[in-house]
């Protein structure tokens, strides 16, 4: 299948960044809807997959060349973020995929909804709202989709802990739980 090139996007919107490692275009803040509408005009008419990825704050080791010209390894803190990833294809031209990412922080996570452009983002953005807590501006019907309406918390986040409402019943599983707490079984 033919590739859908990201070059035209970068030319049309100079603020967009191409992330080589992930193979994705990082959309600039506030321009996501404009990029999407431009892409729809170009024939990219099928949004296949919308999902969220949660990154906690972590330390990243990188090799850079310092001022003296030597290569050294530094450790820097990568800030936490939530990515909303879109996989786009073109059904007319049978090309694809083009990967777009919207980046937002973990507190007050907000992103622009692309539902008015591609209708398939409707239920999938609701799922990202439900499981990750990202608020989509402009979504016609944002509410919880997989968890029940009164649920609190966002289960897919990396730091989510389950509430202690477990109904205890004596089963052999408890021994496995104890072993896990002693660190002998990786769960």
């Amino acid at each position: 299948m033919n590739e859908l090139s990201h070059e035209p996007v970068l030319q049309q919107f100079p603020d967009a960044v191409w992330d080589e490692a992930a193979g994705a275009v990082i959309l600039p803040l506030g321009q996501a809807r404009a990029v999407a509408e431009w892409l729809l005009g170009q024939g990219v008419d099928y949004c296949s997959n919308v999902t969220g990825v949660d990154y906690l704050e972590r330390e990243v080791k990188e090799k850079i060349t310092n001022d003296a010209g030597k290569v050294e390894t530094i450790t820097r803190t990568e800030p936490s973020r939530i990515d909303v990833v879109y996989h786009l294809y073109s059904m007319q031209n049978k090309t694809g995929p083009l990967v777009l990412k919207q980046r937002t922080g973990r507190d007050n996570a907000e992103a622009e909804s692309l539902t008015p452009v591609w209708r398939s983002c409707d239920l999938q953005e609701r799922e990202v709202y439900d499981l990750f807590g990202v608020n989509f501006k402009g979504h016609p019907d944002q509410r919880r989709i997989l968890m029940w309406d009164e649920f609190e918390g966002h289960p897919m986040r990396r730091d989510y802990t389950e509430p202690f409402d477990y109904e205890w019943e004596p089963t052999p599983h408890n021994e496995i739980l104890e072993k896990h707490q002693k660190g002998k079984v990786i769960v």
């Binding site: 004596p170 089963t171 052999p172 599983h173 021994e175 496995i176 072993k179 079984v185 990786i186 769960v187």
Partner: protein, 227 residues
């Protein structure tokens, strides 16, 4: 069709054909034929369902020799715990997707680890017979059984199958899954032969190296003696 309802009549002809020929042809019967019984007959009375404690006889296994249902530990005959293949390495416990295996190693009087499991429990209410434990076992010690008659009235411990119930002999394995057991035996024999050949080659290499070293040492001695 020009008459209204013609399509329905055609459909009813199909139904009639299926109904009548289901008495004659096995094709049309919607139930499986009992090809796993040696005489091909259905059990007629309750006495025809052989059942023993522990071992499952072949007549009550499912349709083919290929179906899998809950694991079992293999031993090579005789007293089960003498020839058990499992060394309690706990790889299957780690890899099991629903985490239904519980293993504890066996230690002798001095506290040294001997290569046997002291406790090996599988919670068959959780086990989904996915066969991952069989795949990751490096010792061919755990394989799939095909017993499905495990119902018990004891709710809290009856579905926890302990080590002694899990131990079955290699002959039983040949009985229920002949092709798979033969392939596994062949693979184990091939691995053993390869290991023995490698050891022999390593032994010969070490011997040759030792001889070479002795020859050099002797040469150095004579050289020193000459000087």
């Amino acid at each position: 069709m020009s008459i209204l309802g013609g399509g329905i009549f055609k459909g009813m002809a199909v139904t009639l054909r299926n109904f009548v020929s289901s008495y004659f042809s096995k094709e049309r019967l919607t139930t499986n034929d009992y090809s796993w019984r040696p005489d091909g007959a259905l059990p007629q009375s309750i006495a025809d369902y052989p059942k023993e404690e522990g071992e499952q006889l072949r007549d009550t296994t499912t349709v083919t020799n290929y179906s899998r249902n809950f694991p079992m530990l293999l031993h090579d005959g005789g007293e089960p715990m003498d020839t058990v293949r499992c060394v309690a390495c706990q790889i299957c416990e780690r890899e099991c997707p629903p985490q239904c295996i519980y293993i504890e190693k066996d230690y002798d009087e001095n506290g040294k680890y001997i290569k046997r499991p002291a406790i090996f429990d599988i919670d068959v209410s959780v086990c989904m017979s996915c066969q991952i434990c069989v795949e990751v076992c490096p010792f061919d010690a755990i394989v799939m059984n095909s017993q499905f008659e495990l119902s018990t009235p004891n709710r809290f411990g009856g579905l926890l199958v302990r080590r002694d119930d899990l131990l079955k002999s290699n002959d039983y394995y040949h009985q229920i899954h002949p092709e798979e057991a033969a392939a596994r035996d062949q693979k184990m024999a091939a691995e053993k032969a390869a290991k023995a050949a490698k050891k022999k080659a390593a032994g010969e290499k070490a011997k040759a190296a030792a001889e070479k070293k002795a020859a050099e040492a002797a040469k150095a001695e004579t050289k020193e003696g000459a000087e």
